[in-house]
Amino acid sequence: MTVGRGTISPVRSSVIPGFGPTLGFTMFYLSLLVLLPLIALFLRPIGMGGEKFVAILFDSRVLAALRLSFGGALVAAGVNAFAGLLLAWVLVRYEFPGRRVVDAIVDLPFALPTAVAGIALTALYAPNGWIGELLAPLDIKVAFTPLGVMVAMVFIGVPFVVRTVQPVLQEADQEVDDAASSLGASRWLIFRRIILPTILPSLTTGFALAFARAVGEYGSIIFIAGNIPGVSEIAPLLIVTKLEQYDYQGATAIAAVMLVASFVILFVINGLQKWQQSRIGRA
């Protein structure tokens, strides 16, 4: 058999050596750290039988927790997509004193231990906290409600959209804006017809990352959520609760559903991004 030109083949010596060992390591590493645990996660619920699996999932408490986790994450990612875009815009387009400091602050939710973030947010939004105090007369309760869950989710998702959109905005040519405005386009029209289509793929990536992070978030949420079953209890917490009660099957059942749901959502977002990318027709 002849190997066509340009085919990457471990047999033929390539320009860049070491294809075999590096690919081998990549596969081994991913299998050990990612695939194996995921497979185990799927095999366990199969052992319990379909009937029991359904029974666990359609428990009202489990449904509520899943709804809050995914629904809250979608809302939080949406808020972050909007606010993150604005933040990135300001950081790229304007020169102002302290811009570097603001730029650094964006990364803080990355760096902060989630428990610390949770405690800080709870202290702020509790009915006697700085912000909770102001909201109390308006009859808005944040801490210990689903709203609190979303606040924490928004907090931890801030960097994702900013960091994905920022480089694309930076790269965007100022001359393109100039061209559009000399053709008579208003600023809003320039944003909608020219800038937005260019940054949409990266905005979608940022949204997906923020969403994924919010779905998986645990540490910062459990403090502010209050964890009232069926109201402000998130799915990851329910998994932990079940584990603590030695209900391993229940825990893995919820985990498997979360895994599938996350995978499907990320897959859809990825497809959307591909489609947007093809519309831009990158040079």
């Binding site: 040519d173 061209a179 405005s181 000399s182 053709l183 020219i194 260019t198 831009i280 027709g281 990158r282």
Partner: protein, 356 residues
């Protein structure tokens, strides 16, 4: 549309980009702003187009003060060096953009007709569905030009439009643009740092340096009668020889050149400028002139370039037609005298070499 620029100044921080510029561009004229990078030519163009606002001074369109008018209200067509096409849109949508965003938008059919006409004009018919990323640089710039012309601008501003293209395409587009301009009734301002381009394309050339205008004139004037040492050096090749003023004349080797009204008192230094092709060479000892030694001879087709060294190793350059050169039978190391035909004397020592 007639454009008047009145005592315009602009600074970016400490950098003075433009200083007290006065310039009038007649309706229908094609003017090039020529200068090295940092001379302020692009800033001036952007101010005319409303993409930048001046610190002081004003811009007038047909006798109306347009200084405060925004770019979208000026009705100017702008063409950029790096095309600035909308990459998320097809060629058709790019050209149609200006028509789409108009307050009184033409009908779909009218837009399609107009775009078709413009694409024919820039020889890009058949590319309607392509994306900018699928076009070559020259094609992109032609689309950008069609896009700028779509709004029927009274003024067309071009910022080094062919700067990113290779030499062959550049020359073609240059001629084609000149032709296009003659057909359309539009005032054009063309920024470039390429002297050949400026002289070939323009009705008038504005030479700029360090935020100020050095000279304004038709191309021949700029080349034959440079007003300042800067223009002399920037346009074409030039020989510069330092000399001393004595007895109301410039003493250059064994030559005494009349000052012709140049204000340089006796005893001061001056610099004589002359073009390499505007001189005579004679064997040493034969005539009055600048004594020099032949350093190197290169044959450039119909012409021959001779690198010479005068006293103190001052490099000189001569360019002779083949016939003249053959008569002289020169070879490396020969001693000659250089006799400039039409030298120009500027007071002061020669400025530092800046010719590339």
């Amino acid at each position: 549309m007639k454009i008047e620029i009145k005592s315009l100044s602009k600074s970016f921080g400490d950098f003075r980009a433009l200083h007290d510029i006065d310039l009038t561009i007649e309706s229908g004229e094609l003017v090039t702003l020529l200068g090295p990078s940092g001379s302020g030519k692009t800033t001036l163009l952007r101010i005319i187009g409303g993409l930048e606002s001046p610190d002081s001074g004003s811009v007038w369109f047909d006798g109306h003060d347009a200084t405060e008018r925004s770019a979208r209200d000026r009705r100017v067509g702008f063409v950029f060096q790096h095309y600035a096409l909308f990459r998320n849109m097809s060629v058709f949508d790019n050209v149609a953009f200006g028509l789409h965003v108009r307050p009184n938008r033409p009908s779909k059919k009218e837009i399609a007709e107009r775009v078709d006409h413009l694409l024919a004009l820039v020889q890009m018919r058949g590319f309607e569905r392509r994306r900018p990323s699928q076009l070559s640089g020259g094609q992109r710039q032609r689309v950008a030009l069609a896009r700028a012309l779509a709004v029927e601008p009274k003024v067309l501003l071009l910022d080094e439009p062919f700067g990113a293209l290779d030499a062959q395409v550049r020359r073609e587009l240059r001629r084609w643009l000149r032709h296009l301009h003659d057909e359309m009734n539009v005032t054009g301002v063309f920024v470039t740092h390429d002297q050949d381009e400026a002289l070939e394309v323009a009705d008038r050339v504005v030479v700029m340096n360090k935020g100020a205008i050095e000279q304004v004139g038709v191309p021949m004037e700029i080349y034959d009668k440079p007003a300042t040492p800067f223009v002399y050096q920037f346009i074409g090749n030039v020989n510069r020889v330092p000399c001393v003023i004595a007895g109301g004349e410039a003493r250059l080797g064994t030559l005494a050149l009349p000052l012709n009204g140049v204000d340089a008192p006796d005893g001061t230094h001056a610099t004589v400028f002359f073009r390499p092709h505007d001189l005579k060479l004679a064997p040493a000892g034969g005539a009055n002139g600048i004594a020099a030694t032949v350093r190197h001879i290169s044959v450039l087709g119909a012409n021959v370039r001779i690198d010479l060294a005068a006293d103190n190793d001052l490099p000189l350059e001569a360019e002779l037609p083949r016939v003249q050169f053959d008569e002289l039978t020169l070879k490396q190391g020969d001693k000659v005298v250089v006799i400039p035909n039409d030298p120009k004397i500027f007071p002061g020592a020669a400025p530092a070499t800046s010719t590339p």
